[in-house]
Subunit: 355 residues, 2 copies
């Protein structure tokens, strides 16, 4: 089994180092191979996703990814900016199924912006379609407006689109995931305005016929943004397209108060996956040894479960993380009075010690 | 001066009746003319926005709008569903500038899902572009996918587009509004993924050159969804496109904990406007006399200020609403221990009494 390790930029290198440390004490045999991605790859090779990095990722069973991005690349042309690497990996590896759990850990309930009673015990699984929608839809670009009130004026445009098989395959993923959990899927759309999401709603409803044991509800995206704030625990599996999923998964992650704890997985039909923390590259704290490595360590656990068929090892890591929290160890982002503040390395070491 | 009164569906009729009551005691001379819209218009005339209603709205100086929608119309074809009325009014009246304040009233801080210290004193103005973007972009529809991995498969698609003059005019509105407030604009985009919003960002940056006294920051929409939860008070004017504005304005409204208090205005270049509460038609409580009329009453105040040039009268209404809250009167949605629960009519009467 081969794991491509792509630390990326900012805190990426620090947090991935801890996850690698954790993986290496598990007594499993896999090969790790590291490559540059994002800004780091641009500096070294002139492109955020060099051919060699892409090839490594394609040949691996799984990709362990840190984070990419830094303000200093803001003025590069879009095709060379760090985040193009992550979009490119998703596209080329066909990682259409993104899993983003929004979990509120018992000991961290107080860290949420929300009142504790609203988030205590929160456990939502957000499933976001990741290779379609307006993220990749062609045509797109700039032109002179071909029609409408502003015909002839300069305009920019993008195309939102979803085909039936794209919706079907992610709907199956959502219903199957719900089966293993609370058996409820909330499909989020904007069918009252968008053709694409009326179609989404229609196809999801059809696929649902194969899952009579799972409850399906449809919700407009604006309402979903509200319900997440009002009563997040009403959700079990929240399932949506690429664009809405981007917004809602970040909103939900922040609601937990501990985005530094949240892993994610992006899978293709062959079980290959890319695993990364839900948070970003945080250039402001990079290199200071204070970043929280737990989201990345938990992403490594997801990798073991989903792509490497090692669910026992995954569980061991997750249990170790919980026990480190119970021990009172906290990185700066989740620190509160009465707990022990530790750095990135110490947190990684503590997880290793528990294993 | 002529006001078109369009109560609509659900609680629309009840709450608009209270706003009309308030307007009628102000000793101002305007003509009110009522017409059906939404489901009510569909029942009566077979269309959610009949020609006669549209004409009335076009000829009026302002439209006082209740709310539209009911589950019972869910299976109508899209063109006949109630919300098409609101989309049609926006389009035909060219109401491109939508103002949605997200304010947390002192006495209602506890009603928020967020911890009180995060929302106490919250006062954000959300400015949403309302006639462009993927809401109206052509082409759209269903077809066989013309290209891509799923070429030949059935797909649905929509077009996101913004032309330079559309972005310019709403940017001017945002900067001018910020000048009268905290002098800070946060322009929300997804320039890292979408051509449309890279263009948005570029044009907004250009327009900003005319407003050196106003601070401009750019923020990605996913980050904005997070920052609203984490630190809503960091925003002054939050300014974005139609689709993102739909989602973020609802998220922000819910954060205040009292969406039943929040008015909105949608204006065109000629100062004509449509005024409506930020909340929906709430068919579950329709006809029970328990809905909160204050968002509609405050929308009437916005109408006096923005379209009818009666800012003194607007302020009188706003002061009356605050004093009714201070008096301890509350409809069910904002009720808490120690306050006095009242119905829709009593709340309207209380505002009238304060005038
Ligand atoms: C970096 C960006 C392109 C990306 C996205 O929008 O998908 C990120 O926000 C995410 O959610 O993984
Ligand atoms: C009813 C619907 C079409 C509308 C919108 O999406 O704009 C509503 O959600 C709103 O925000 O006014």
């Amino acid at each position: 089994m081969k794991i491509a390790v792509l630390p990326g930029d900012g805190i990426g290198t620090e947090i991935v180092a801890e996850a690698v440390k954790v993986l290496s004490v598990l007594d499993l045999s896999f090969e790790l191979e590291e490559a540059k991605v994002g800004g780091a790859a641009y500096e070294a090779h002139g492109h955020p996703l060099p051919e060699s990095t892409l090839k490594l990722a394609q040949q691996a069973d799984a990709v362990l990814f840190g984070a990419v991005g830094d303000w200093k690349y803001d003025n590069l042309e879009r095709a060379l900016r760090p985040e193009q690497a992550i979009l490119g990996l998703r596209k080329h590896l066909e990682l259409f199924a993104n899993f983003r759990p929004a979990i509120c850990y018992e000991q961290l309930t107080h860290a949420s912006s929300l009142k504790p009673e609203l988030v205590a015990g929160l456990d939502i699984l957000i499933i976001r379609e990741l290779t379609g929608d307006i993220y990749f839809g062609q045509p797109r670009g700039r032109r002179s407006a071909p029609d409408g009130v502003f015909a002839g004026q300069p305009e920019a445009f993008d195309t939102m689109r979803y085909s039936r098989p794209e919706i079907e395959r992610i709907a199956h993923v959502a219903f199957q995931a719900a089966r293993k959990r609370g058996k409820k899927v909330t499909s989020v759309d904007k069918a009252n305005v968008l053709e694409t999401f009326q179609f989404w709603k229609d196809v999801v409803t059809e696929v649902h016929a194969e899952y009579p044991d799972v409850e399906l509800e449809h919700m407009y995206v604006d309402n979903a943004a509200m319900q997440l704030v009002k009563a997040p625990k009403r959700f079990d599996v929240l399932f949506t397209g690429n664009m809405f999923g981007d917004i809602l998964s970040d909103e939900a992650a922040m609601l937990t108060g501990s985005i530094g704890m949240l892993p994610s997985a992006s899978l293709n039909a062959r079980g290959q996956g890319l695993y990364e923390p839900s948070h970003g590259s945080a250039p402001d704290i990079a290199g200071k040894g204070v970043a929280n490595p737990l989201a990345t360590i938990l992403s490594a656990a997801m990798m073991l479960r989903y792509s490497l068929n090692q669910s026992e090892a995954a569980l061991r890591i997750e249990t170790a993380v919980k026990s480190v929290l119970a021990q009172g160890l906290r990185t700066a982002d989740i620190y509160s009075d009465g707990t022990t503040r530790v750095g990135t390395k110490e947190m990684g070491d503590a997880v290793v010690a528990r294993l």
